[in-house]
């Protein structure tokens, strides 16, 4: 991502809107954009999902490979999560080696899914010490109008839930659905115009300050947190965000599980 000059006029405008408790697209502070989830949409992937949040669109695809288990964990397969934002996704994404921003994006989404323990890597073992399944979740941005974090996380867990282990193709038994025991959901908050808002658009990200990413699992258990960018926040601000995240994650979990 190239570094845009901080748009001072945009910042001033966002601050004005915040004073009137409004946003660029007239949403309230905690309102989400229209969110749609489709699964099973990629012909070659073993599991897939497409998430649309306003003008943000992402795809997730699951593939399987055979791996040799690590010597210290002979009974375990693996889960790998990889994120790519390529020039298709927006004027501000240039080709080239991964930027610090996209590395952080991948790692934060990966952690939210992995740390929830939603995939039992012991169940991926085929022959202890010799063969196991490696699940690879690839996240691919199509259109970035902000909040790729949440879109990737949502598409990612939905694609895993949609996935089938292609055992027949590898000649090791029958195809079976991948077991996914939990549904971690990420909610992200950006400080825009001096206050935190939910589900920021790209222009809000551009004129905003720090952001906080929260991944919650079943029973409001916390699985991952990340504060990104320069900025200071108070414990009270964090508590308010956390309360919203609990409610919103539950809503989104319904969509995935339903």
């Amino acid at each position: 991502m190239s570094v845009p000059l901080v748009p001072k006029l945009l910042r001033a405008h966002l601050a004005d809107l915040a004073l009137n408790d409004s946003r660029l697209d007239d949403r309230g502070q905690w309102d989400a954009r229209d969110t749609k989830l489709e699964t099973g949409i990629l012909a070659r992937a073993e599991g897939s999902a497409k998430v649309t949040m306003g003008d943000t669109i992402v795809l997730a695809g699951v593939k399987f490979q055979i791996m040799t288990p690590y010597p210290d964990r002979p009974n375990q397969g693996g889960l790998m999560c990889s994120c790519e934002v390529r020039p298709i996704a927006g004027r501000h994404w240039e080709a080239g080696p991964p930027s610090p921003q996209s590395i952080e994006l991948g790692r934060v989404v990966d952690r939210g899914i992995r740390e929830s323990g939603c995939i039992d890597v012991d169940e991926l073992c085929i022959i202890p010490g010799e063969k196991a399944w490696q699940v690879i979740l690839d996240l691919h941005a199509i259109s970035d109008d902000g909040n790729l974090f949440d879109a990737f996380a949502l598409a990612g867990i939905a694609a895993l839930r949609d996935a089938t282990i292609p055992a027949e193709r590898f000649e090791i038994g029958e195809d079976t659905p991948l077991k996914v025991s939990k549904t971690p959901i990420m909610c992200s908050y950006h400080k825009v115009g001096g206050r935190f808002v939910y589900d920021a658009s790209y222009r809000e990200e551009l004129g905003g300050d720090e952001r906080i990413h929260i991944t919650l699992g079943d029973d409001d258990h916390v699985h991952s947190l990340q504060k990104g960018l320069k900025g200071i926040f108070t414990a009270e601000e964090f508590d308010e965000i956390m309360e919203h995240a609990k409610a919103r994650c539950a809503e989104l979990r319904e969509i995935v599980n339903g």
């Binding site: 990629l42 695809g61 699951v62 020039p87 298709i88």
Partner: protein, 238 residues
């Protein structure tokens, strides 16, 4: 080209495994405006290929060393998504993608009126999200639709089709199995209004007569696909 001539892919009636006659093209769907943040975009489903193209620009060309004083530059990034094929593709640098990006840019630079936008850049992102066979043709064809959707002036659209040979029979628009076991592949990029060419590659083994047949199939198919492109751009493609 795999060149395994012993797999039978044409039946006794001269039909192919998916029921097509030798000169037939796979079913095609074209949709524009699919990437909301882009200046122009196109999704093309061609057989089970699915390709999404976004166009950005004209915009400032940077770094400055890529600028041309008298015209715009096209910056084409063709890429296969990791989940687009049966075996996952590792992301990252890839000579095949670089080469396809280059020949695609060469073909499109032949029709875009670059001199209207000196010192600027037009970026074209081509993502193969589901690959069957002929992704470079689908990518190039979809890119010309996306450029038109972005309102970039061009002398003509570009239609790209590949014919090839299976079981010693020349056929049009190879599908996946035909591509795996086929003996030749001839992708071409045609300007439908004049029949001129802006793109040409070929691999495999074709006798002079077979070559002529494959060439003709491509020309006919290009005219057919062109109609669908025009419809999609008029708003009837969705």
């Amino acid at each position: 080209m795999g060149g395994y001539g012993d797999v039978q892919m044409i039946d006794e009636n001269g039909l192919r495994m998916d029921g097509r006659k030798p000169g037939d093209v796979r079913p095609i769907t074209i949709e524009t405006g699919v990437v909301p943040v882009a200046d122009g975009s196109c999704r093309m489903i061609w057989g089970t290929n699915e390709v999404i193209v976004a166009v950005y620009g004209p915009m400032e060309a940077h770094p400055r060393k890529i600028q041309r004083q008298d015209r715009a530059v096209l910056d084409v990034a063709y890429n296969m998504a990791p989940f687009s094929t049966t075996d996952r593709i590792r992301p990252g640098f890839n000579r095949r993608s670089r080469e396809i990006s280059k020949v695609t840019a060469d073909a499109l630079e032949s029709v875009v009126l670059l001199e209207l936008y000196p010192r600027s850049k037009i970026r074209i992102g081509i993502e193969i999200v589901s690959a069957e066979a002929g992704t470079r043709c689908v990518g190039l064809t979809a890119a010309s639709v996306a450029l038109a959707d972005a309102g970039i002036p061009m002398t003509d659209l570009v239609v790209s089709v590949a014919s090839g040979k299976i079981n010693d029979v020349v056929v049009c628009d190879l599908n996946k199995e035909e591509d795996n076991y086929g003996e030749a592949d001839l992708p071409m990029g045609v300007l439908p209004n004049t029949g001129e060419l802006v793109f040409l590659q070929m691999d495999g083994d074709l006798s002079p007569d077979e070559f002529k047949q494959a060439w003709d199939y491509n020309m006919d198919a290009a005219m057919e696909v062109h109609k669908l492109m025009v419809e999609a751009l008029k708003g009837g493609g969705n």
